[in-house]
């Protein structure tokens, strides 16, 4: 079992009668999805090319496919090297979709590496406007992904997000977290304890405060984690509300424990939490 007793007890409490379904899902490997890079190719065209090579795909969204059958590793095709798609869980598309960035805006991706969401943002912005992408680590892999996908509107900083001072139109805070929603993919994190959760939560709140200070009035922030723990999710959003943020309804899955937020349990895809917040005008 990939979850420890401590975590299982929490999920049983939150899920009630669906806990059994959760346990069953946790024994299966996580399905693989690809996000088509519409900056470089049309989804239909990519699908045709991969199917010619023996891949079986199922469309789950305009530009996202579930990989049902793969004759070779999906990360080893020419199309992958050409930057035509990114391996990305379906649920992790929704933070970016909720932020809804527009061409011409100045957007901050606070915790950007390795760039799954940065390159998705660029695709929705049609490579126009500016994305500032910061991370304390792994900026090289972030940069490589940006280059491979043909993204041209990103500025990368290897910097602690808490040291940035600017006023952005929109901000994505895809926060560092305990990752309990992606244990099916990354089982190295099985040892998560309450202490880890509390520690993550306090960093998340600090980042939330920074986000508030760096967001224009009327600007939108999307907060997301791949954690299932309320301390890292709903509790951080409650803190955001105390700073002055207003909560808007997010899309992408069932409602979280807080009205308007989204909580995706790891049934079909990795677990995610998403909240959409607006900094009101004074």
């Amino acid at each position: 079992m990939i979850y420890n007793e401590f975590l299982l007890k929490r999920y049983e409490e939150m899920l009630g009668s669906r806990f059994k379904e959760f346990l069953e899902a946790s024994r299966k490997p996580l399905p693989k999805y690809i996000r088509v890079n519409t900056l470089r190719i049309r989804p239909k065209e990519l699908r045709r090319r991969l199917e010619e090579k023996g891949f079986e795909l199922k469309k789950v969204m305009d530009y996202c496919f579930l990989v049902k059958k793969a004759p070779i590793s999906i990360g080893a095709t020419t199309e992958y090297l050409l930057g035509y798609y990114f391996l990305q869980d379906y649920s992790s598309l929704f933070p970016t979709i909720n932020l809804d960035p527009k061409p011409g805006e100045i957007v901050w991706d606070m915790c950007a590496a390795p760039g799954g969401k940065t390159t998705h943002l660029a695709q929705l912005m049609k490579n126009q406007g500016v994305i500032v992408a910061t991370d304390v680590r792994k900026v090289k892999s972030l940069w490589y992904n940006v280059m491979r996908m043909g993204v041209t509107n990103v500025i990368i900083y290897q910097r602690d997000a808490r040291e940035v001072k600017y006023k952005f139109d929109k901000i994505l805070l895809d926060a560092p977290c305990t990752g309990t929603g992606i244990l099916r993919r990354d089982p190295t994190r099985v040892r998560v304890k309450l202490r880890d959760i509390r520690k993550a939560s306090s960093l998340q709140k600090e980042l939330m405060k920074t986000a508030y200070e760096n967001l224009k009035e009327g600007g939108t922030l999307v907060y997301s984690t791949c954690s299932l723990e309320p301390e890292e999710n709903e509790e951080v959003v409650e803190y955001a509300l105390s700073l002055g943020f207003e909560l808007k309804r997010a899309i992408g899955g069932e409602e979280g424990l807080l009205k308007g937020t989204v909580r995706i349990w790891p049934f079909e895809s990795s677990g995610f939490f998403i909240a959409k917040l607006v900094r009101p005008c004074e």
Binding site: G150, I155, I156, Y157
Partner: protein
């Protein structure tokens, strides 16, 4: 603009942001030859050489191109862009006597990450 001693192509908007936030790690389009970023965003101008499927695979593994796998070419010497039969750019090569030497190819992203 120069960033950490390398050339990048950035927009006016990006420059304004950089002026406030300081020197970044990277920005816009990496222009230093042989940049694959510049290649796939159509920033470079070299004659093209189109190669067959087999050569495409090998080239993306970092290998050179044998002259017999060339389908069509726009030059016989110097630096060229290696394209597959569809015309998609795969990297840069340099003509030698018996082969086109691999200077840089898109497979590098994978090889360097490992």
């Amino acid at each position: 603009m120069r960033i950490r001693g390398k050339e990048f192509k950035v927009t006016k908007e990006m420059k304004e942001v950089i002026r406030e936030l300081g020197e970044p790690y990277a920005a816009g389009i990496y222009m230093e030859f042989p940049s694959l970023h510049a290649l796939i965003t159509s920033q470079v101008n070299f004659p093209r050489v189109f190669v067959d499927d087999h050569a495409e695979q090998l080239f993306l593994y970092g290998r050179d191109v044998f002259l017999r796998s060339i389908i069509r070419k726009e030059a016989d010497e110097g630096i060229v862009i290696i394209c597959n039969k569809r015309g998609e750019p795969l990297g840069f090569g340099k003509f030698g006597k018996r082969l086109i030497k691999n200077i840089a190819d898109l497979g590098m992203y994978l090889r360097e990450e490992d």
